[in-house]
């Protein structure tokens, strides 16, 4: 299986640092951003196969970031993190072309599974 790069976007720094360390322990190349603008900036510097994107963020909202990613980097697969069990945002995100969604707090194994699939899709496209 091919290597893939992941961009983790969430406004909670503690969450981002812990999760990215856990992913790196599993040999995944992880970058992180604490808001939408930063995330879009990172994506201009580097190519990512998978973006883990929190829907609820101050500033640029998750769905807005998703929209921009889909227009500028159509190959990149986005997995949404929804703070609630919010079906509304989830469904809206799916409609906008997100690859899948995960409900916080996230089970790491489930996340890895989904990332793997997303990366596979990204390589196929």
């Amino acid at each position: 299986m091919a290597e893939y790069r992941v961009l983790l976007v969430d406004d909670e720094e503690e969450f981002v640092s812990a999760l990215s360390e856990r992913l790196m322990l599993r040999g995944i190349e992880v970058d992180s951003a604490l808001n939408g603008e930063e995330a879009l900036g990172r994506m201009d510097e580097k190519e990512f196969e998978v973006v883990i994107l929190d829907v609820m963020m101050p500033g640029l909202s998750g769905l807005e970031v998703l929209r921009q990613i889909k227009s500028t980097h159509p190959n990149t697969q986005v997995i949404l993190l929804t703070g609630h069990g919010a079906t509304r945002e989830g469904i809206e995100g799916m409609r906008l072309g997100a690859f899948d969604y995960l409900i916080k707090p996230v089970d790491i194994e489930e996340m890895l599974e989904k990332m793997k699939e997303a990366a596979k899709t990204a390589h196929m496209d």
Partner: protein, 575 residues
């Protein structure tokens, strides 16, 4: 205008003035009912009373006129008859005295002859005599021996000298029959005078009066100015007796009035006769007169009483109905207020819960990741000595995090149910969106989802989030029910029984639901034994649909599969 109203208010009962302030409690309905009845009765009964009073007086005067007129006519015509009788006798005597000389009349034989022929014509003449100016009876023809009698000092002789004519009162004379006297004076050329005097039997008078036909209760008779009966009466005594009632004042015109005596009320008519001291009196018994009036009074009273009774019954019944309606409306409004208050409370509670859940979710996610990281670090560094023990502790933390997650999810679900926003929804699109949520699972488990959507399905007005939750729950259940590689069919269409409503049927070929479980699947916390799920999904879904006036039906056979049919009205009735 306002001033008049203020004035008017002063006269209104206290209950009416305070019309809008009935206060609370059940007495206000009684007060309202009382006031309503009072107002209706006042507005209906007062005019009725006025009408009745006006009618009463109109009838009374009309009836009086009807009674009084014939009586007056009767009295007048009787008076004329009697006057005619008297003046006829008077003229006869006047003719005699004018046509015959003093010498002829004073001749006893001539007078006898004249009297005989007079009696042949008028049998009621009893005697005839001539008196000269000295008051001496010069000749006399009749049953008494009156020749040579001197009347010089008698009142009647004085009166006939003064007035030329005299008609006496009735007196008992010859054979105890009542009589009266007519005397006529004639002046001679020489300045002397003489008087012709005749006595008349009153029998003829009586005949004349009794010829006036009267009902048994009535009476008609003559009296003189002292109240002495001149003709017999039916109920007021016989001739020459004094009547019990006072003498009416002088009137030649017929007068009709009322009197009262020990027998009760009478109608009383009278007239003074011209040229004589007689008064014609007519008395009618009250029963006869008033019978008609009394019946009318009774009828009027009856109509009035019946009308009042009808008004009372109608107003009481109407007031009862009205007040009951008001009471029902009040109760409905109160329960609606209570419900609204409850809903409001729930809504704010829901918002609070959502806020809390959301705020907790983020630190929870951090705990989750930190604990996960600890676990990872322990697992990845193989030489850590208390590895087993630490892993156990971290797993415990992670389980607790999961429990917290369940709780926050439930809270959020609850909060969302509170926050209803009705919008136009195309059900077919919504179902496809919801399925988008589950596409991955379908793909992994090789589940086939067939859509059988009616293309012309009318849009409905509901809350999008709630409907998403409902269908997500049901489709999710279907996913859980089927084996890998199973089939799920989602069909939409019009509901046949309720116009405007639509239905969605979600069928699966899964394991089905046991009939015993079917009864309980919509009960809260009733789970089909799966390790996952709170047992709230279908309960919440059913609550949402039922609240909007819809329904969820389930048909299922164990081993064959289940069909959940959601019926939704065109518009959610709750919002």
């Amino acid at each position: 205008m306002n001033g008049i109203w203020q004035k008017f208010r002063q006269f209104m009962p206290k209950g009416l003035k305070d019309f809008p302030n009935y206060g609370e409690g059940p007495e206000r309905y009684n007060l309202l009912r009382k006031n309503f009845v009072m107002i209706v009765c006042a507005t209906a009964i007062i005019p009725l009373l006025l009408m009745a009073a006006i009618n009463y007086y109109q009838y009374q005067s009309a009836l009086k006129e009807e009674i009084v007129k014939p009586l007056r006519r009767l009295v007048t015509s009787s008076k004329h008859t009697l006057e005619l009788f008297l003046s006829e006798r008077e003229s006869t005597l006047r003719l005699l005295i004018r046509e015959r000389s003093f010498e002829e009349l004073s001749n006893q034989a001539r007078l006898n002859f004249i009297f005989q022929s007079l009696k042949a014509e008028f049998p009621e003449f009893v005697d005839l005599g001539l008196i000269d100016s000295s008051g001496l009876q010069r000749s006399y023809s009749g049953p008494y021996e009156l020749k040579g009698k001197n009347y010089q000092d008698q009142d009647w002789f004085q009166e006939v000298q003064l007035r030329g004519v005299y008609v006496s009162d009735v007196f008992l004379g010859y054979r105890k029959f009542p009589h009266f006297v007519i005397a006529i004076k004639r002046d001679t050329v020489e300045g002397d005078f003489y008087v012709l005097r005749a006595t008349i039997d009153t029998e003829k008078f009586n005949q004349l009066i009794s010829s006036i036909t009267l009902r048994p209760g009535s009476d008609i008779f003559l009296i003189d100015r002292e109240g002495i009966l001149q003709t017999p009466s039916r109920h007021h005594g016989s001739v020459l007796e004094k009547v019990s009632f006072p003498i009416p004042p002088m009137s030649q015109e017929a007068v009709i009035g009322r009197t009262k005596d020990q027998h009760g009320e009478h109608l009383f008519g009278y007239a003074y006769l011209r040229g004589a001291n007689f008064i014609l009196v007519l008395i009618k018994e009250p029963g006869e007169v008033m019978a008609g009036w009394f019946t009318l009074k009774i009828e009027l009273l009856l109509v009035f009483v019946v009308s009042v009774a009808v008004i009372l019954i109608v107003s009481l019944r109407t007031a009862g109905l009205l007040v009951d309606r008001i009471r029902e409306a009040d109760q409905k409004r109160e329960s609606m207020y209570a419900e609204m208050e409850h809903t409001g409370k729930l809504a704010s509670l829901g918002r609070l819960a959502a806020g809390v859940a959301h705020e907790i979710n983020n630190p929870l996610a951090i705990i989750n990741e930190k604990a996960g990281l600890i676990k990872d670090l322990v697992e990845f560094s193989k030489q850590y000595q208390d590895r087993e023990k630490l892993t156990l502790q971290v797993d415990s933390i992670l389980r607790s995090v999961n429990r917290c997650r369940e709780i926050t999810h439930r809270l959020l679900g609850f909060a969302k149910r509170m926050d209803v926003k009705v919008e136009t929804i195309h059900l077919n699109e919504l179902l496809q969106e919801v399925l988008g949520f589950l596409e991955k699972e379908a793909f992994h488990r090789n589940i086939t989802v067939n859509f059988n959507l009616a293309p012309d399905l009318a849009p409905i007005a509901h809350d999008r989030g709630q409907l998403q939750q409902v269908f997500l729950n049901i489709i999710n259940n279907a996913f859980e029910a089927v084996e890998d590689g199973g089939n799920i069919t989602i069909a939409t269409g019009k509901n046949e029984t309720e116009p405007g409503s639509v239905e969605v049927a979600i069928s699966d070929d899964g394991r089905g639901i046991h009939p015993d479980d079917q009864k309980h699947i919509f009960d809260p916390f009733y789970s089909r034994g799966k390790e996952q799920g709170t047992g709230l999904g279908l309960s919440i879904s059913y609550g949402i649909v039922a609240k909007c006036g819809g329904d969820i039906r389930v048909e299922s056979k164990v081993g064959k599969g289940s069909t959940f049919t959601v019926v939704l009205p065109q518009k959610c009735t709750m919002a």
